[in-house]
């Protein structure tokens, strides 16, 4: 993608759009960035770094008990085994959701998020509503995502205020025992790895 071939006459330019173009132009002319550098980094986060990475980590953990043990013990290196590392992922801790404990992740101060495994956060994760409410009324927030938990299930909310980033290992749904690692990758969702939903059993497995 490139913003430089946009003819601009087909739509009204918004204020931030104009400001962004002005800023990029100045930085390019001063030699502080190159156009292809911006093209490529934007493309990277739009296409290559996203929850499909985390889904591979989860599917591996569901099918390989030894990998799961390493992942829960030392998330960063276990995730790096699959090739995912870098910005906002220098220290990643993974917590397992079970029938007794439900973990969910928030960043009340900012929108910190484990980029190498989940990509950039969705708008709701960055919203005032989620950031304010997740720590004080997590069950009510979970309900808005369709996740109803019995009172007996302990809810643990992880507020990402340090440089440690968190990811949730969702519970493997019942009825998926016959599925391969490749098939499992397809059923893992971003929201389940943030901990606001469970991974639903695939229709074919019900």
């Amino acid at each position: 993608m490139s913003g430089h071939h946009d003819d601009g006459h087909t739509h009204e330019q918004s204020e931030p759009e104009i400001r962004t173009k002005a800023l990029e132009s100045l930085l390019v002319e001063k030699g502080l960035i190159s156009t292809d550098e911006i093209d490529e980094v934007a493309r990277l986060y739009e296409q290559d770094i996203g929850p499909m990475n985390g889904a591979k980590v989860v599917a591996r953990a569901w099918t390989d008990p030894e990998y799961k043990r390493r992942l829960l013990e030392e998330g960063t290196s276990a995730i790096a085994e699959l090739g995912y590392e870098g910005a906002q992922g220098a220290k990643i801790a993974v917590f397992e959701n079970t029938s007794d404990v439900h973990n969910m992740v928030v960043c009340t101060l900012c929108s910190c998020y484990p980029w190498p495994v989940l990509g950039l956060p969705p708008t709701w994760y960055k919203s005032e509503a989620y950031r304010s409410r997740a720590v004080i009324e997590p069950r009510s927030v979970l309900k808005e995502f369709g996740t109803e938990l019995e009172d007996e299930v302990e809810v643990r909310v992880w507020d990402s205020n340090s440089e440690v980033r968190y990811m949730v290992l969702p519970e493997r749904p019942a009825g998926t025992e016959g599925m391969s690692e490749e098939q499992l990758i397809d059923i893992v969702t971003r929201d389940a790895m943030i901990g606001v939903t469970r991974v639903p059993a695939p229709a074919s497995a019900v």
Binding site: L23, I33, E46, R133, V135
Partner: protein, 236 residues
């Protein structure tokens, strides 16, 4: 700082706005702002610039508008761009979208950038002493109100939690006074707070918050009170 960004526990923001099949970027400029931000990182980071956005603007701006605002302010402060030249360029581009810079293509720069983004930049530093607390210790969050950047959310202040584990020694990110970075590293602990401790009778059942605490945010509840002058980072 006790800013609008410190949102944990606030009321009044309504339902969580869930968008199904949301694109990574809703507008092309968002992706470009994001990339510009990552390609022109500054030592102090941009969070302090986001936190000083006036509250009314903070709530009005979208996420990427906040980063755009912070990036512009950071670059101006660093002397890398000038406010007037940016304003003039905006006027030119508003009048004629073709008034943008001619593209500069530098493949070597792209390669170097991608390598840097994939670099394993651990926050861990060498320990410079013994951690004051251990897993299982009860700790109280000190009542501090630094006017600059801090990683202590205000909803934890004065509350008692239990240390779960030591993550390691990380550089303290707080800026006190504002704008001044420190290179000091401290132990960072994962601390568990029960919902009822943080929220009293309003707490939902069976809920806990886990949050990371630099050692100087904490004091021992047995030896000090919430208004103690003692410094939680001092070694006993």
């Amino acid at each position: 700082m006790n800013g609008i960004h410190d949102m944990g526990g606030m009321h009044g923001f309504g339902r969580v706005p869930i968008e199904v099949n949301e694109p990574v970027f809703h507008e092309e400029w968002e992706g470009r702002v994001w990339a510009i931000n990552l390609c022109t990182r500054m030592p102090a980071g941009l969070r302090p610039e986001i936190e000083v956005i006036p509250p009314a603007s903070y709530l009005r701006y979208s996420y990427y508008e906040k980063w755009l605002h912070a990036k512009v302010e950071g670059l101006i402060k660093a002397g890398l761009i000038d406010r007037d030249e940016l304003a003039q360029r905006e006027v030119a581009i508003a009048a004629d979208p073709a008034a943008v810079a001619n593209p500069i293509i530098e493949p070597a720069r792209v390669t170097e950038r991608l390598e840097r983004l994939h670099t394993f930049n651990s926050p861990d530093t060498e320990p410079t002493g013994e951690p004051q607390f251990r897993a299982g210790n009860e700790v109280r969050v000190r009542n501090i109100n630094p006017p600059g950047h801090t990683r202590m959310p205000r909803y934890t202040r004065g509350h008692i939690g239990i240390v779960q584990q030591l993550w390691g020694w990380h550089r303290i990110e707080d800026q006190d006074p504002p704008g001044v970075m420190t290179e000091r590293a401290e132990p960072v602990y994962s601390v568990r707070f029960e919902g009822a401790e943080l929220w009293g009778d309003q707490a939902e059942p069976n809920q806990a918050v886990y949050i990371d605490m630099w050692e100087s945010y904490l004091e021992s509840p047995e030896t000090t009170g919430p208004n103690s002058e003692s410094n939680g980072s001092s070694k006993s």
